[in-house]
Amino acid sequence: MNLEEYKGVYVFAQQVDNEISGIAFELLGKAKELAAPLNTDVTAVLIGSDVKGLADQLAEYGADKVIVVDDPELKEYRTEPYAHALASVINKYKPEIMLVGATAIGRDLGPTVSARVATGLTADCTVLEIGDFPLVAVPGKEDEQKHNQLLMTRPAFGGNTIATIACPNNRPQMATVRPGVMQKIDPIKGAKAVVEEFNPGFTPNNKYVTIKEVVKAVSDTVDIMDAKILVSGGRGVGSPENFKILEDLAAALGGTVSCSRAVVDAGWKPKDLQVGQTGKTVRPNVYFAIGISGAIQHVAGMEEADIIVAINKDEDAPIFDVADYGVVGDLNKIVPQLTESIKAAIAAK
């Protein structure tokens, strides 16, 4: 593998139902930052059926170039035709860096593609930067230190440890990136990218699975990753009906309700409201943790919130270790009264 041949920062521009996922814009924002010290440009790889019209949006969010792989086989996400598409792009265009969202799609596509093109993949990154590997040169072996490497930082062990990883001898350097962590740029209206169409050919083989049915969850809720105020409930809320008091509080503040994994496992709330390691990473201005004990897997998904308010009857609950303002008490008594007080305070302004 001649590493010098590999150039450019590439982003997998995930789309679902011909709508670009937010993670694609976040990755473009980060890719632009990474491209600057490397003196290179940013390419979005858009894969789907009838998706060419989405290229301009990618340009507005920072793509210099868009490679479009458009084929009827790519209408719904399936591992095989998508992996073939992305691996073929990598083999033809030889990117130095390939970023993929750590979504339910990207965490399937990324590993399949990285194994196919025989390179490393670092999962669920939260920090990406360009630097040296090793970080500090080994005395006497200064010339072995590699520069301009992608340094990928990720939590592991349920968020208890953090590791920075490099991929010094293989290309592309591949990472999946947690949604909600990287910042998208303010869109540049009217920006245009160089659009190139590429079709490697799709011949179904044993790896193609058949989609028998697509079952969409009925949801009219706001994406919790976009919410400025989240009122999050855990098992301590007691019942699905009792989430009403959280919904009232959220409504008073113009916020949204989210929940812990226990609530999803109990069937009280749908999966798309789940915060945490196996749910979504959120960073709202205010996060209310109500009746949430604060398992490390939950904390990993919300600890970046600006202000964390916890209400729990168990004074030893670990949520108090991360809360800015912790209140030991009965949520059933406190929450409804808090809602009324907040309404009164807002009305008095």
Binding site: T79, A118, G120, I211, K212, F320, D321, Q337, L338
Partner: protein, 261 residues
């Protein structure tokens, strides 16, 4: 039908994380358990065995003590256990791990391979799909339901806002979510038999069609530049008010102070 279930022994992060006095993670003090997603995958395999009859082989890669999770799986109802262990396989990233496990699986017959979606120590979700890729198999990740009809598997594949019902011809690989089911307990008879059961142990020499350059720490494309225990921002204030009124006044006061309301 022959089913292989890949399982991993992991430290239990859910049962409470233990720290050393210096703030680093005390791995020795934490229980070693069968990874939850893998256990759900094993349960799915055992249900297929109950329903249609199947031979279930559990396979793990790890230190010699990882044999414990194989015995646990056999006490739940798995028929055979394979331990892949060798000093030269240590320090493997997901590429080298999946290469190793694929090399072991090439010695076995199978219709279906089930892995957990991800392990609770690494949280990568990469090893399952990468094993499938090395073996040239179709992969279905994030399974929330697994059925078999003839020579096909029908799987509900979970996404954020939907699921797809997918059909694949076997052989194929499926990665299981812990939401899939509630795993059964070991039976006393099962525990008795599993203690005496023979476990097949394989080392580097037993791996089929695998290059040394793709194994262990040296064969891992990803290298750790730095690892540390996460520094958390730490606790803020904690109050225990005497009444709900007092609690509400406290919270409203803070929200005003921070200009939230």
């Amino acid at each position: 039908m022959k089913i292989i279930v890949c399982i991993k022994q992991v430290p239990d992060t859910k049962g409470g994380v233990k720290f050393n006095p210096d703030g680093t993670l005390d791995r020795g003090a934490m229980l070693a358990i069968m990874n939850p997603d893998d256990k759900a995958g094993l349960e799915a395999a055992l249900r297929l065995k109950d329903q249609y009859g199947a031979e279930v082989t559990v396979l793990t890669m790890g230190l010699p003590k990882a044999a414990d999770v194989l015995r646990e799986a056999m006490a739940m109802g798995a028929d055979k256990g394979v331990l892949v262990t060798d000093r030269v396989l240590g320090g493997a990233d997901t590429w080298a791990t999946s290469t190793t496990i694929a090399g072991a699986i090439r010695n076995l017959e199978y219709d279906l391979i089930i892995t957990g979606r991800q392990a609770i120590d690494g949280d990568t979700a990469q090893v399952g799909p990468q094993i499938a890729e090395h073996l040239g198999l179709p992969v279905i990740s994030y399974a929330q339901d697994i059925k078999v009809e003839g020579d096909k598997v029908i799987v509900q594949r979970q996404y954020d806002d939907r699921y797809h019902v997918l059909e694949a011809k076997m052989p194929c690989l499926v990665t299981a979510l812990s939401e899939l089911n509630d795993p059964r307990y070991m039976t006393p008879g099962g525990i008795f038999d599993a203690c005496k059961a023979e476990i097949t142990t394989w080392g580097r020499a037993d791996l089929k069609d695998v290059e040394d350059s793709n194994l262990g720490l040296a064969g891992s494309p990803t290298k750790i530049a730095k690892a540390s225990d996460k520094v958390r921002k730490g606790a803020g204030e904690k109050v225990t008010p005497d009444s709900p009124d007092e609690a509400v006044d406290y919270i409203v006061g803070k929200l005003k102070e921070k200009h939230v309301i």
